[in-house]
Symmetry: C2
DNA sequence: TGCGAATATTCGGATAATCGAATATACTAA
DNA sequence: TTAGTATATTCGATTATCCGAATATTCGCA
């Protein structure tokens, strides 16, 4: 039950684009358009990823006129990302090798 | 690049069974068989999940005779799970509702 | 009113994840 | 060697995720 919840949060973060979104939002409230510009991705694609983050209640959104501003609901998630960075650095050598292997399995995206 | 790595770790944790495995391993080194008994899942299924955790270097394994003992490579991951629990409790009401919704989308597993 | 910008949703195809069943491998002990 | 236990791998079917293209929706402004 708690595990299912945790899994659903991890799953929401299990995509490079969504991690990038969360990292942008750590700076504060940002409009969808601004996120799109900064990440340089398709509008529809961003919107889909935002929908996932919304459905997990990871982000809050607020409409203002034409735009929608997104923000992180809880700074704990930022901390989680920091811990991951720590984890990454502690395993730097292994991690680089692991990434290669993971990529080798499904090449050329 | 760093994001891809983080995403791959999150993805490895994005399953209730694998979270359960990590939680068992927080206690120390445990044999595959013991994990299987505690979780009450199919042998093949456990082995598949362990393979994923291995491929991400989340767990270490050590053969001893007939058995294979698994352990967490890095306790930071335990901390991440703790943060998640914190996060869960801070959002308890919302989280419960969110879980219902997530489950409603793909019912009856 | 009608147009354009910002955002969301739907659709279809491609790829990936998941499971149990079957099978393979490795080791121990008789 | 043979039997039995522990673990891993492969296979095929089912379900989920991902993307871009197309389409909707919502709002502000001329």
């Amino acid at each position: 039950m708690l595990r299912e919840y945790k899994a659903s949060i991890f799953q929401a973060l299990a995509h490079p684009t969504r991690i990038a979104i969360v990292e942008v939002l750590r700076e504060g409230e940002v409009s969808a358009r601004a996120i799109q510009d900064r990440l340089g991705i398709e509008q529809a694609n961003l919107s889909q990823h935002l929908a996932i983050l919304r459905s997990r209640q990871i982000v809050a959104h607020r409409k203002e006129g034409n735009q929608v501003f997104y923000s992180l609901r809880h700074r704990v998630l930022g901390k989680v990302l920091d811990l991951m960075r720590q984890y990454f650095q502690a395993n730097l050598a292994d991690a680089a090798q692991m990434l290669d292997e993971v990529r080798a399995e499904r090449p050329a995206r």
